[in-house]
């Protein structure tokens, strides 16, 4: 490791004095994130039935998230590399704690009540797993040997199963992806890749019969034929595709979406918010948002490519690919090409935990980004 890795320009009086440098901000990334926040609040206002309350709360979450991002950015990547195992073990223990002492809503047990606030360990694991796997694999040579892949896979699957049991299929899918991407970017040999693919295929029946709960199976079945149960599980999909489809090219106009304004659309301000955007802003709106997302991911890819250490590269690459998983799963499920799992649309869906977690992840990316910019 280079000595330089530990040197931050803050410690370097002769360095760049621009505020962005001083605060370890990646300006293009920040601008794209703020753009997303702006879009998010705009759509949320309409999706929440024109509720200023929701918008204010969401804006507050965003400010908290921005602050969390700023804090994360100040730590050196090396700090995260060293601390990753500890964070991971802490996260895993709290996930186990959730199994026993967790509180929750709607039949899912996701939170730990800390007295002053509620803490969602699965959110922590969205960052802890990619960091821990990246840290573990970056100490080995690339491509990693089987036993390291095995350990990394195990480290990934443990929280994945714990979260899936809460049950929170969406989050467990994100955690699984992040672990997988880290291993993949670390240079997982092609033969393992093929083997993993075959294993995954073989695992489907096991998952179906022993892991998935009835309602989760129902969601998969519904995807295949949403018309079968129009008022049950198929309702969400029928309503969301109707909302999206009726948007046309340019949409019905802001706050003019009848599907969402008249409450036909379920979860319109959380997981299904893309349908509101699609209904009110049309295909142009959808593609614009997708473009912003892709620009953001592109910027993250650049950061990953330019990162100084293998750990930084792996974390940056993993986080950016995982970020796309959020988008793909959410937009896919709302438009009816993926089963309905609880997956928010990043920066657009209402929800504090997800926002703070996302910003924290981008904080680490900013730390990595500004690391390379040292003199």
């Amino acid at each position: 490791m280079h000595r330089n890795d530990f040197v931050r320009q803050l410690n370097n009086p002769g360095g760049d004095r621009r505020p962005s440098r001083v605060l370890h901000l990646d300006i293009p990334l920040l601008l794209l994130l703020l753009t997303l926040c702006g879009i998010g609040l705009t759509v949320l206002y309409s999706a929440s039935g024109q509720s200023i309350f929701y918008v204010k709360r969401q804006a507050t979450f965003m400010l908290v998230g921005l602050f969390a991002m700023l804090v994360m950015a100040q730590f050196k990547p090396r700090f995260w590399e060293r601390g990753s195992l500890l964070i991971y073990i802490g996260g895993l223990l709290s996930l186990i704690a959730v199994l026993f002492f967790g509180v929750g809503a709607k039949g899912a047990q996701r939170w730990l009540d800390l007295g002053f606030t509620r803490f969602q360990p699965s959110e922590l694991m969205k960052i802890a797993v990619p960091m821990m796997v990246s840290a573990y694999l970056s100490k080995r040579y690339m491509p990693p040997r089987f036993k390291y892949v095995f350990v990394a896979t195990l480290a990934t699957l443990l929280p994945v199963f714990l979260v899936a049991r809460q049950p929170d299929l969406g989050t467990s899918l994100i955690i699984f992806s992040s672990g997988f991407f880290a291993i993949f970017l670390a240079g997982l040999r092609k033969r393992y890749l093929v083997a993993t693919g075959l294993l995954a295929l073989a695992a489907i029946p096991t998952l179906w019969f022993y892991v998935l709960l009835d309602y989760q199976k129902q969601r998969v079945l519904t995807l295949l034929n949403p018309g079968e149960d129009k008022l049950g599980a198929g309702w969400n999909i029928i309503q969301s595709t109707t909302a999206i489809g009726s948007g046309g090219w340019s949409g019905k106009g802001w706050t003019q979406g009848t599907q969402s304004q008249l409450n036909f659309l379920p979860e319109s301000h959380t997981d299904f918010i893309i349908a509101v955007l699609a209904e009110e802003f049309g295909l142009i709106g959808v593609l614009s948002l997708l473009l912003v997302y892709l620009l953001l991911i592109g910027r993250c890819m650049v950061i990953a490519l330019n990162a100084q250490t293998l750990f930084s590269r792996l974390v940056a690459g993993t986080l950016s690919l995982t970020f796309f998983v959020y988008i793909f799963v959410n937009m896919g499920m709302v438009s009816g090409i993926l089963p309905v799992v609880g997956a928010p649309l990043p920066f657009i869906s209402y929800g504090g935990s997800a926002i703070v977690t996302l910003f924290s992840g981008f904080g680490i990316l900013m730390a990595i980004s500004t690391e390379q910019k040292r003199i």
């Binding site: 100490k139 080995r140 040579y141 690339m142 491509p143 040997r145 991407f181 993949f184 970017l185 670390a186 240079g187 129009k230 008022l231 309702w235 309503q239 595709t241 109707t242 909302a243 999206i244 489809g245 009726s246 948007g247 046309g248 090219w249 009848t258 599907q259 008249l262 409450n263 036909f264 659309l265 379920p266 699609a278 209904e279 049309g282 295909l283 959808v286 593609l287 997708l290 892709l294 991911i297 592109g298 890819m301 990953a304 490519l305 293998l310 590269r313 792996l314 690459g317 690919l321 796309f324 988008i327 793909f328 937009m331 896919g332 438009s335 009816g336 090409i337």
Partner: protein, 619 residues
């Protein structure tokens, strides 16, 4: 940190990472294209479908049921109106647990097994978010209980609608009829759009005959709803147009007098206003409460009515077909006079038997003591004392062709054309009819039976009333009608141009003879003449309920009451200027004079009294 021969090569590691990242980027872009195509497919390729679907989603068209037209009697008294009914309805989508809700409701109010069965049946065919009725006609107390417990009865609602109501209960049941739930067969025959707001349809009586007018025009409102089916706001409203109001010729006071005069006996009475042909009273007893049918009668109640020996559901006034007996004698007498077959001075000697050449067995007069009416029986006496022997001869001499031809003109043997469904035509037999019905030729014996209103001949009480009115009006061929005006517009059909072709002197003669049936000391209906301050003309009749062998004597003491003869009476009043004509029957009443005529007198009295008070008011 060397492992297993691998070596650290940062450049190669970077290259490997870059390749992997590039691959990841490629997959990302590819999946982005997949997403874009999916959204393109939904938003552009299938835009029309979804736009339509979304619009349907948003805008719910709800029918606004029209208020059914009201029915008034001639004095403006309500006979059929609409009143609110409160029903317990359930929208399962709004309930967390339907079974729990049902058992909860069962604890609060009485929900019958039948309610539950019907509810479950309806539940399976309703549309999403449609209210399904669990229990109808909540009492005030039940509504209060439900309101108090409303907070824990999510999905259950009390909804109000207008239902038909018959304030006079059984008084007009047969004439006015009732509405009931649209059944399977009816729903195939009707225009579903017109009935989209209602589940009732006129089943019988006026309610059925004037269904089109009474129904009204369904309105609609377009409401924006949320996904829970709740109306958020009304976009557009086309109000329903209430059905037409009917005003009847029926007089509820007269109707009540007639109904009560039967005193529970089985029978029927029709009273006609001669000037218009309007039905003043139309009674069939015993009757039933039509309100029972409006919201669906229980099987128990229905069986009770259906299998009752008295057959209360049977509308005797237009569907009961009875031999008219002697009530047709004045009509036949008029025919014979008109065609010079008998003259007023023609007399016979009645010894109680009528022999016809070639037939060994004599016809007898069942109604009178053996020995007959004696010497000097002319047409008048034959009417007053109801002499069968005279009419046997008169009938044979007139011949069935003339009798039948005129009988039809007097309203017999065919539907009168009253504005009611289900009327029976009766039988005015003739050669062609017998050939068709029995495949046999007409015999003189048939004519003899017909001449005293027996044999094949059958008439409804309505036909008897029409016949009576036509005699009273000197052959005016007016069709009987129940509805006087619709929404205030008179409905009287144009009067037929020509009267029955019978000379005035014959009418005078027959009116006098019929007057003497009531007012002379030997008249068969003399019992009702006491205290009359106006003149009634009438004719009694007796119809065999069972056939009596010619050698036997009819003896009611040897028969069950339901085998007793039917008592009939036709009459009109006042004789000088006839206003009202009546035809009536009392089943197993035995003698027209003693059991049927008093009922007519009661109705005449009430009518004359009302005319008098009307005259006083007009002064």
């Amino acid at each position: 940190m060397m492992h297993d021969g691998a070596f650290s090569d940062p450049a190669r590691e970077r290259q490997l990472f870059a390749r992997r990242l590039f691959f990841g980027t490629l997959v990302t872009l590819l999946l982005s294209i997949v997403l874009s195509l999916r959204y393109f497919d939904l938003q552009i390729s299938r835009y029309e479908d979804f736009a339509t679907q979304s619009n349907n989603n948003r805008v719910l068209v709800r029918p606004l049921p029209p208020a059914r037209g009201l029915i008034y009697d001639r004095k403006g008294e309500l006979i059929a109106d609409n009143r609110p009914s409160y029903d317990l309805t359930i929208v399962p989508e709004r309930s967390d647990n339907i079974e729990q809700l049902l058992s909860e409701l069962g604890k609060l109010i009485t929900i019958s097994e039948r309610d539950l069965q019907r509810f479950r049946k309806q539940l399976s065919r309703r549309r999403p978010f449609e209210q399904t009725t669990l229990h109808i006609n909540l009492s005030e107390a039940e509504r209060a209980i439900l309101a108090v417990n409303g907070h824990r009865l999510g999905g259950a609602e009390t909804s109000a609608r207008l239902i038909r109501h018959y304030p006079h209960k059984d008084l007009f049941a047969h004439a006015v009829g009732y509405v009931g739930r649209i059944n399977e067969r009816e729903s195939q025959a009707i225009d579903g759009v017109k009935y989209s707001g209602t589940d009732s349809i006129g089943k019988i009586g006026l309610e059925k005959f004037y269904e089109t007018q009474l129904l009204g025009t369904v309105g609609s409102e377009q409401v924006e709803t949320n996904a829970r089916g709740r109306a958020m706001r009304i976009l557009e409203q086309t109000p329903a147009l209430p059905g037409d109001n009917l005003t009847l010729y029926l007089d509820s006071d007269l109707q009540r007098v007639a109904f009560e005069a039967f005193n529970g006996e089985r029978g029927a009475l029709v009273a006609i206003e001669i000037e218009t042909g309007g039905i003043l009273a139309m009674v069939s007893t015993p009757s039933y409460d039509p309100n029972l049918f409006v919201t669906g009668i229980s099987q128990k109640n229905y069986d009770g009515l259906l299998y009752s020996k008295d057959r209360p559901l049977f509308d005797r006034s237009i569907r009961g077909q009875y031999p008219p007996g002697s009530t047709i004698k004045p009509m036949f007498g008029l025919i014979a006079l008109q065609h010079n077959i008998v003259s007023p001075s023609y007399q016979i000697n009645d010894n109680g038997y009528f022999y016809f050449k070639g037939i060994e067995r004599p016809w007898r007069d069942h109604n009178f003591a053996r020995g007959g009416h004696g010497d000097g029986v002319d047409l008048s006496k034959a009417i007053i004392e109801s002499c069968n022997i005279y009419f046997y001869g008169l009938g044979v001499k007139t011949g069935i062709d003339l009798l039948s031809d005129y009988g039809s003109q007097f309203g017999l043997g065919a539907r009168t054309g009253i504005d009611m469904p289900g009327e029976r035509p009766g039988i005015m037999p003739n050669r062609a009819w017998k050939k068709g019905a029995h495949g046999q030729s007409w015999f003189n014996g048939d004519t003899i039976n017909t001449s005293i209103g027996q044999g094949f001949m059958l008439t409804t009480p309505l036909q008897l009333a029409v016949m009576s009115a036509r005699i009273a009006s000197r052959g005016d061929l007016r069709t009987p009608r129940l509805v006087k005006s619709i929404n205030g517009i008179e409905q009287a059909p144009p009067p037929p141009g020509t009267n029955i072709n019978i000379s005035d002197k014959h009418w005078d003669y027959m009116h006098k003879a019929m007057e003497d049936v009531v007012h002379s000391s030997r008249g068969t209906a003399r019992s009702i003449s006491q205290g009359l301050d106006y003149k009634i003309a009438g004719k009694t009749g007796t119809a065999q309920a069972i056939s009596i062998d010619a050698e036997e004597k009819y003896d009611s003491s040897k028969l069950e009451k339901n085998q007793w003869d039917h008592a009939l009476f036709v009459a009109f009043a006042p004789v000088a200027d006839p206003k009202i004509a009546i035809g009536l029957i009392v089943e197993n009443g035995e003698h027209g004079g003693s059991s049927a005529a008093p009922i007519a007198r009661a109705v005449f009295d009430a009518y004359m009294a009302s005319q008098e008070s009307a005259t006083l008011v007009n002064r």
